[in-house]
Symmetry: C2
Subunit: 355 residues, 2 copies
């Protein structure tokens, strides 16, 4: 994070020092990836406090001063010393992340702190607009998803189960460099595909089934996310109708989104297509969500989101139609907001694939 | 959870009602698996509060009353009504789990609550001793690990990477019924095996390498955990020496642990073998940790743990020797503490396997 961004937090909140404990924010601010410990920042000092398991790595990953916490030099004592150097009595903390017991321990052991300022989502808000380095890592993660999708097309056939499909997708992502998964892979076939968050079962894929696959991996801490729906066998008329409406809705959104629109306006680009086709009641979720170090971040493409889109926000575009007892379609790409449009990070085909 | 256990919490803490928000504890207490919402219990009322996505499932999973929270009937209002029925003014909450901002919102919106009692680890403590149903689920999860280990022995050979090995283990666990993973699978070869928490890399396994694999899955919410170390090719004298010391240490622990010993006494059973063999400085971690809904639970087999072991606690037994620049061995089984010994849930072979 740049020095200006940090200065801005101090100015906006009135804090004299910040205690950062969310592992993702610790990494974002300091570069330290270990996740254990705390980042202390003030206008004068930038410090990673962690234990002996991580100090060596922290020294390589972060430009901050690294202080080792141990039995002889406990975290409270380290913080006391840092606060004294700064003469800081007003401290910002991540109330959205910190557990009550940890807060209570800190307030009891550091009575010299006069005021505790909840930071709410100040740090998360900064993370909404991605840096060029972050965009590269997200694009890499998304390309791993593309590679896995290309492999799964050779694997899908009648008789394969949903669980096997999800396992194969995860296996392929790992083989292509995934370091972890953004969420539990969804593979839903036939009528199961009408549930947006279906959990894969041992149901065998049958000829004529929709198969919806929603999957993502992590790469150097950053998440990917994509969804494709295919038909195993030949699509019938209704499957084709639904698929094409969802695709049309997605293309309308991809063609219309740009910096300056609100989340609600972006959502409406796709939602109006689905509504006008008569399926408005079958698209119950938001069009998209921010993606970065967390798989679900602000802002959202949703009817309630008034955030004005800025360049280099990364957001999913995932319209869907879900017909209970019949099946459903979702098509999801990951995009970067640009001044006059979007950059699509997902390159897998999305014509109706019949296997 | 039994009615007696709940009564006991009210008696011990003086609380008139409990707000349970840790998803694992919500499931443990009510049976509800959705994880979203809150469980309210008092001597008179047992309630799951959740939203429309989960109410149907909650009704099937839980014997508690299910109340739907929505825009017209918000959680605060529901809690206010439940508290009024109980005349409750002293409320226990999970300070180890609840975030500061959530606590602050609750205290502000429910001023009728006179006293908030941090429950600390009261609920987690109850979960240490497993019920017969829980033991069955953990045993099932561990058997999935056994099946994956048996498959990986056919897969390992020179040229295969650590990442491929980890991916294959996860794939096999999924195929055998895993619903998720307890943690990121470890597969460390050659000198990498000297790092207890090595992250798999694209390093290829070479002839003569130790390969340490530490992996676990979840089944119906419960975790498994096991580690095996094998040699790809022929073990040399030093590898054989280290392997046999670790195995002897583990067998000593498995033969000596029983209800009534402290965590420290159990740890010492294995640690003394490794110390006497001259490798005391190369076994830096604890002998084991509780396993259940969480992969790491209390109690521990560690030099610092004074917990007296009780029947039907489930704990890992995982001694190791790690020699930087050479390699390492860890052998881990999952056991159930019994009155006169242990029941081993892990059935994979642990003679030195040379592939």
């Amino acid at each position: 994070m740049s020095r200006e961004m940090i200065q801005d937090i101090f100015k906006r909140t009135g804090a004299q020092a910040l205690f950062i404990t969310d592992p993702h924010n610790m990494m974002y601010i300091s570069g330290f990836r270990g996740g254990e410990g705390m980042v202390y920042i003030s206008p004068k000092q930038q410090v990673v406090i962690t234990d002996s398991r991580y100090t060596e790595a922290a020294g390589k990953e972060s430009s901050f001063t690294v202080i080792e916490e141990n039995h002889g030099h406990k975290r409270t004592q380290i913080l006391r010393e840092l606060l004294a150097v700064d003469g800081a009595e007003i401290v910002g903390y991540e109330d959205k992340f910190m557990r009550c017991y940890e807060f209570s321990r800190l307030t009891n052991s550091l009575p010299e702190i006069q005021q505790w300022l909840p930071l709410d989502e100040s740090i998360d808000a900064i993370r909404q607009v991605k840096t060029p380095e972050e965009l590269k890592l997200i694009a890499k993660a998304e390309s791993i998803g593309d590679a896995a999708f290309s492999e799964i097309l050779k694997f899908l056939k009648p008789g394969v189960t949903e669980l096997e499909t999800a396992a194969e997708l995860e296996y392929q992502m790992k083989l292509h460099g995934a370091q972890g998964f953004s969420f539990n892979t969804i593979a839903a076939s036939g009528i199961h595909s009408s549930m947006p968050h279906a959990v894969p079962t041992d149901k065998k894929i049958e000829n004529g089934d929709f198969v919806t696959m929603d999957f993502g991996c992590t790469y150097e801490g950053y998440c990917s996310d994509m969804t494709r729906t295919v038909v195993v066998g030949k699509a019938d008329a209704k499957q084709r109708e639904i698929y094409n409406i969802v695709l049309e809705a997605q293309m309308a959104a991809l063609g219309g989104i740009h910096a300056g629109l609100t989340g609600a306006q972006c959502d409406e680009l796709a939602r109006s297509v689905i509504r006008n086709a008569g399926y408005g009641d079958h698209f119950g979720h938001a069009l998209g969500h921010g993606v970065g170090l967390y798989i679900h971040e602000e802002p959202r493409f949703s009817p309630q989101d008034s955030t004005v889109m800025q360049e280099n926000m990364v957001i999913s575009v995932e319209p869907g139609i879900y017909v209970p007892g019949f099946g459903g379609v979702r098509i999801e790409d990951l995009i970067v907001i640009k001044k006059d449009g979007v950059e699509n990070l997902t390159h897998s085909p999305k014509n109706l694939i019949e296997l």
